[in-house]
Amino acid sequence: MILLVRKIPSVMSQLLVRGCPHPPPPVDPLKNNEAIALQGCTILVVDEDKAQCDTLSAILRHEQFKAETADSGPAAIARYAEVQPDLVLMDVVMPGMSGFEACRELRRIHGSECAPVIFITGRHETKYLIDGFNSGGVDYITKPFELKEMIARIRTHLSVRTLLAQQRMLVEKLSRENKFLGMAAHDLRNPLCSIRGLSECLLEGLAGKLGEEQTSIVASIHEASQGTLQLVNDLLDIATIEAGQFHLHIMPIRLSELVQKSVALNGMEAARKNTSIVLQDKGTSPSVMLDADKIHQVIDNLLSNAIKYSPPGSTITVAMQTTPSEHVISVRDEGPGIPENERDRLFQDFGRLSPQPTGGEKSIGLGLAICKKIIQAHCGNIIATNLPTRGCEFRITLPLDPIP
């Protein structure tokens, strides 16, 4: 074994000593969770016997805890309010107010925020111990106690308390951040809609004919605003899903109507990229119970993806079919397909793959993750398959009666 001794400059060592009054104890296997810092936690020791209090306090201080004492139930309640301990070690048999009563009172005053109370008792009978748990205690140590057992139990309950506090804090932080993201995204959407819309007006010559250079500048503005608007909408969707506020609004709708609407909506963009969309089976499909807006969003997304990755002159085929067990909608393109080694990432958040959009469009890789969540919420499925020729097929299946 090699022992490394590093010389600490004298001023430094004084600082260290001042900052840490007790030398750190050697590593103990009973310290159950080293990831959670428990040093400096305050423990309130309640015992009518002053000598007992002092012994326990000395042990606790040696373990890097802060120890406070009280010699009766009422004193414990008063001291608790002053020092706000992280844990209470409570003797049970005390004159006047028993430890069980004091514990009950602490729980009544401080509610769910109350520090865990561990009883120290000389009695072992189960019924008696259950009384202790019923009064709100979390654990008990029987006298004469084993030092290491006591410390291990204290550490466990301090860890639980620390983790619960952290969890509460994180949940609050997450919901605050989600709310903030939602608000920011919402405020960004307004101006982006105007930038996109007004640049379209310019491109269409509604404010006079543009020269070649002007057209290309305005086209850039339009494209950038379109991409950013998509990003903002996707982020809002993800924020809603993450915040658990994703609810379906189910109503009867004809799937064929939704699909036709999407095809019509995307026709222009397809034409711009010299790609055509063919809709197979224009027959009316039966009415289905689903969230029309969200399913529309999914079909739209699959179509705009197909357009994004389609080479010029290719065809996108949309097909609809109702089998005895399910509704099937498929979108087939003639693009590069999905690289097999990247397939896992396809439906993940920000799971952008290596193929590049053929017209320089933006993609951030949230669209398919959102699609999958929407389809799953409908108890359906979405899969992607590479076609033997070229391109790939996205296939949505929805149960005949998607919502039970």
Binding site: R189, N190, S194, G197, C201, E204, G205, N233, M268
Partner: protein, 136 residues
């Protein structure tokens, strides 16, 4: 082709009012009145008696729901279309309940907005409005 219908656009953002007036212009409606919040909108409504109102929801001073309520109190037949970036179900239901005839989202593609507005305006003014053709 131009139409004489008077349309009130209510939105706190000047760029949105400009965007909406460009859309209306491409449908042949070039006389638009603008208001930048609910209170101004009420004054405008009483003074100008527009045939149709396009109304935002999130606005300072007085929001779109309160404005809608007051406009409908002045004229129970008022034709009000909500044009908002709010996408939640609650806003849609609240608007319908207060008597808005249509709910349009601002992030809807412009050509879709134009088509839907064209349908609404055709029935509101009981006239045929030709689809706008892009300038050459």
């Amino acid at each position: 082709m131009t139409f004489n219908g008077k349309i009130l656009i209510v939105d706190d953002e000047p760029h949105v009012r400009l965007y909406v007036s460009m859309i209306l212009r491409s449908l042949g409606f070039s006389t638009c009145i603008e208001a930048s919040n609910g209170r101004e909108a009420i004054e405008c409504y009483e003074r100008e008696k527009p045939d149709l109102v396009l109304l935002d929801i999130n606005m300072p001073v007085m929001d779109g729901f309160e404005t809608l309520k007051q406009i409908r109190a002045i004229n129970h037949e008022a034709v009000v279309i909500m044009l908002t970036s709010l996408a939640n179900r609650h806003s849609v239901e609240e608007s319908a309940q207060l008597g808005a005839v249509y709910y349009l989202r601002k992030d809807t593609p412009r050509l879709v907005i134009i088509n839907e507005l064209r349908d609404i305006l055709q029935s509101a003014f009981d006239t045929d409005i030709p689809a706008p053709s892009p300038a050459p």
